[in-house]
């Protein structure tokens, strides 16, 4: 591949150019922000904003319910706007089930025990509201479901893939789980074609220029899905000489930003200079 278009991507990612004004604006621009490490997600917001603090991120997660964290792209935790959650979840969750089932088996959780865990989690959150991981683990232990080793986190992952729960408000330093239907209201069905088109468009806004493989890798979706999304927005795309595509009317690259401490990045992303 040709030299990575660093200035363009830094601009798309809001690391170069005018800083954004809120955590929500960052999540809107990037669509999904790495959330494996809570501090890392907050630092990703910091590097792209002015006049925002980590407490502002907590507020968006808690009081405002405008942001949430759950397992999305590549089955990893991401910070997204609540309004982007339904369709991004609908696109990415189906890719998680096979691996999830395998890992629960490895942890000694039968299918029946998994279903019991889902019912237990759902009724605990419905009756008690936001609960920390520690609380939920205690409820599962109480119901006789194995939570040893990695079993607990894989059960949370399954519940997230099913669309039962997300990480919503902060309870002190802990990020609490909530029932999706209580926290965000009843979810509307998602049109897959429209969602793939939106995915392609938003990916290019916040991460472009890029190609179909970049998109597939980022989202953790099959290449055919990435291509379908890009095809659906073909009239809005500009083919570049380096083989990548960008949205027509993409802003000119801003000057490189001043020296800055960033949060953590995936190693594979750093290689393609894509943070």
């Amino acid at each position: 591949m040709a030299r990575a278009p660093i200035a363009e991507r830094l601009t798309a990612q809001a690391l170069a150019g005018e800083p954004l004004g809120s955590p929500e604006a960052v999540a809107e621009r990037l669509l999904a922000v790495q959330g494996q490490d809570p501090r890392g997600a907050r630092l990703a917001v910091r590097a792209r904003t002015e006049g925002v603090t980590a407490a502002g991120v907590d507020r968006a997660l808690s009081e405002d319910r405008s942001l949430l964290i759950t397992w999305l792209n590549r089955g990893t935790l991401h910070l997204v706007r609540s309004e982007d959650y339904p369709w991004l979840h609908a696109l990415t969750a189906p890719t998680h089930f096979a691996g999830c089932r395998r890992r629960l088996q490895q942890e000694g959780i039968s299918e029946g025990a998994g279903e019991k865990a889902m019912r237990t989690i759902e009724s605990a959150l419905a009756e008690e509201g936001p609960l920390t991981g520690r609380d939920l683990r205690a409820r599962l232990d109480g119901a006789g479901v194995r939570t040893e080793g990695q079993a607990f986190i894989h059960l949370m992952f399954l519940a997230a893939a099913r669309g039962i729960l997300v990480r919503g408000p902060m309870l002190g330093k802990q990020h609490a789980y909530v029932l999706v239907r209580d926290w965000l209201g009843q979810q509307q069905p998602v049109d897959r074609e429209e969602a793939l088109a939106e995915l392609a468009r938003r990916y290019l806004v916040g991460h472009g220029p890029a190609d179909d493989r970049d998109l597939a890798r980022w989202a953790g979706l099959p290449l055919r899905d990435a291509r379908a999304g890009l095809r659906a927005i073909a009239s809005a795309l500009k083919q570049r000489e380096d083989g990548l595509v960008e949205l027509k009317g993409s802003p000119d690259p801003a000057p490189l930003p001043p020296p800055r401490l960033l949060g953590a990045a995936r190693k594979s992303s750093a290689r393609t200079k894509c943070w």
């Binding site: 660093i6 200035a7 830094l10 690391l15 790495q34 494996q36 490490d37 501090r39 890392g40 907050r42 630092l43 910091r46 925002v52 603090t53 980590a54 407490a55 397992w71 590549r74 089955g75 990893t76 998680h96 691996g99 999830c100 890992r103 986190i153 894989h154 992952f157 490189l256 930003p257 001043p258 020296p259 800055r260 401490l261 960033l262 949060g263 953590a264 990045a265 995936r266 190693k267 594979s268 992303s269 750093a270 200079k273 943070w275």
Partner: protein, 57 residues
């Protein structure tokens, strides 16, 4: 769930990752991987202060 990739905070100068950094006990430590100009190193130290303010620590 996958744990693909490696997560490690880094510092960006002129579009390049030139240092790793970490935060422990309320203090930022920057570990340079590439040589940077003194003025850039100073700018990173200043940004470290802003990181602490942002996190409220």
């Amino acid at each position: 769930m996958t744990t693909n990739g490696i997560f490690r905070p880094f510092a960006l100068v002129d579009g390049r990752a030139v240092a790793r950094w970490g935060l422990a006990a309320g203090k930022v430590t920057i570990e340079h991987l590439d040589e940077v100009l003194p003025k850039d190193a100073a700018a990173l130290e200043k940004d470290a202060q802003r990181v602490l303010e942002y996190l409220g620590s």
